[in-house]
């Protein structure tokens, strides 16, 4: 099996094949952000620490990306012949609402409030033969 690596450990960690998102928590007002930020947008505090975010939540809003994103910045497949539409939305986690890809791309199978869990999604294979993975939330049956 090829090695799977995170697109960027600043936001996504992979531990024993399981993903988790890394955000920031303000120690003054307890506001969470994703990713971690050097200043708190809520209280303007600067005492902020890294925080592991929950991996389950509810779908808050969504769409389906129907055309290939421009590259750069997009790192996935954007050849119009091979491009497959993908869901994008916001998932409400216990700490914060995060924007994320969705594993589901059919509008009829997506609805606000449905239960979702964090998964890894293949983006591309790099020059070293490693699979570069991003994060995506998937409906829980």
């Amino acid at each position: 099996m090829t090695k799977q690596i995170s697109i960027n450990e600043f936001v996504l960690n992979i531990s024993d094949g399981k993903p988790y998102l890394v955000g920031g928590k303000c120690l003054d007002c307890e506001n969470y952000t994703f990713p971690i930020m050097p200043g708190c947008p809520k209280c303007a505090g600067t005492r902020i620490e890294k925080a592991k975010l929950g991996d389950q939540g509810k779908l808050w809003a969504w769409t389906v990306q129907g055309f290939p994103p421009k590259s750069p910045p997009y790192l996935g497949e954007n050849d119009p012949e091979k491009f497959k539409s993908f869901g994008v939305g916001y998932v409400e986690l216990p700490e914060v609402i995060v924007e994320t890809r969705l594993t589901e791309n059919e509008p009829a199978k997506l609805s606000e409030g449905m239960n979702m869990e964090l998964k890894l999604e293949h983006l591309y294979t790099n020059g070293e033969g490693e699979e570069v993975m991003t994060y995506a939330f998937s409906p829980i049956d």
Binding site: T63, P72, L75
Partner: protein
């Protein structure tokens, strides 16, 4: 405080103009605006210019004339044109200047806006946000209107009605880019770009230029028989809890967007309310934006848009005409110019010079609203 009048307006047609730089389009608009006021470039005491992708506006003095005037460059995403006007307005209300010009122009490559600069911090690593396929404006607008539609009962057909109206109005506007009127059916059947929004519901990045000459209201009659008074020009940025383009996260506490804040401040400054407005130009990056902005600017309650659109109340001859020049959907989005395009249209409407798209019954109060990334809004209120 000094009142402000608009005494000259100029525009370079919107659309695609191969071989003409964005700045040249801006210069054409400046010359037209000066001519409209019976003035020359060297009469201008100051200029404020905005452009996102067509060069620093102050460079245009090399083609307009090196008069030594104060020239300030501004940039506020899609609200850049509105910012240029608000800055010029402040320069005159403060009493520092008597006469000046606000300028906006742009020229963007084809396709959705994209940037090579990461939107969010990357800590030295790969651009995880854009790289994963999330830094895309149409995506955000689709997510936002999809949630809004579910919450307030807006139908797909109503989205299409907005775009059909825009293209119909655009077909009456000689300065518009898109002059083909689409039916609601054609809009609904065009390619689904990002559910629930189809291709014909979106504006496209484009080209164009607009300029307008402003002066202290008490001097306005020197330059024109029909001065239009700028009663308010307000800019606001987002507060904690508003849902804005390219947000990688949102807090759980929801708050109103910058449009609501800018709108309320503008009404207060102008001493009028939404019920007094005779014609409005609202940011319509896509159909859904116009619908949400109708409520955010105070013209209806959330959800009432469904009935208003179905009844044709926002048509040129309706109760509250919206985007009479075809809006961004028919004119395209040259970021630096759009906010001024809206004001240009309102000046024509208040002067009674809007031709085939003239709002009937002598409109007296006109309203503009622009919205730009990463969460900024500009509102103006004009009166005849």
């Amino acid at each position: 405080m000094n009142d402000v009048a608009i005494v000259g307006i100029g525009m370079h047609p919107f659309g695609r103009h191969d071989g003409v730089t964005g700045m040249e389009q801006g210069a054409v608009a400046v010359r037209e605006a000066c001519k409209d006021a019976g003035l020359k470039w060297n009469d201008m005491e100051f200029a404020v210019g905005g452009s996102a992708a067509a060069g620093n506006p102050d460079k245009m003095v090399s083609m307009l004339g090196l008069t030594g005037l104060q020239f300030t460059n501004v940039a506020n995403g899609c609200a850049t044109g509105g910012t240029a006007l608000a800055t010029a307005y402040n320069a005159i209300t403060s009493g520092v200047y008597d006469l000046g010009i606000a300028i906006g122009f742009d020229k963007h490559p084809r396709g959705a806006f994209a940037s090579n600069e990461p939107v969010h911090p990357v800590d030295g690593g790969l651009d995880w946000y854009g790289g994963s396929g999330m830094a895309i404006n149409p995506q955000f607008f689709s997510i936002k209107i999809n949630r809004y539609m579910n919450k307030f009962g807006i139908s797909h057909k109503t989205l299409a009605l907005v775009a059909a109206k825009a293209t119909r109005n655009g077909s009456l506007n000689p300065m518009a880019w898109r002059k083909q009127a689409f039916t609601t059916e054609e809009v609904l059947q065009s390619k689904m770009l990002a559910y629930p929004l189809t291709q014909y519901m979106f504006c496209s990045p484009g080209e164009g230029g607009v300029a307008m000459v402003l002066c202290k209201a008490k001097h306005a009659k020197k330059y024109t028989d029909k001065p239009i008074f700028l009663k308010a020009a307000v800019m606001r940025s987002r507060r904690f809890g508003s849902f804005e383009v390219k947000s990688s996260w949102l807090p759980k506490e929801e708050n109103v967007g910058p449009t609501v804040d800018a709108s309320l401040a503008a009404y207060e400054k102008a001493g009028v309310g939404p019920q007094d407005v005779d014609v409005a130009q609202l940011q319509d990056t896509e159909s859904g934006a116009e619908i949400m902005h109708m409520a955010e600017n105070g013209f209806c309650e959330d959800g009432e848009q469904e009935e208003m659109l179905q009844k044709g109340e926002t048509e040129i001859n309706g109760r509250l005409p919206i985007n009479t020049d075809g809006g961004c959907i028919a004119n395209g989005e040259p970021i630096g110019a759009s906010g001024l395009r809206q004001v240009y249209e309102n000046v024509l409407q208040l002067r009674g010079q809007a031709g085939a798209r003239q709002v009937p019954n002598d409109p007296k109060i006109a309203y503009t609203h622009v919205y730009g990334a990463p969460g900024i809004s500009g509102v103006t209120i004009l009166s005849s």
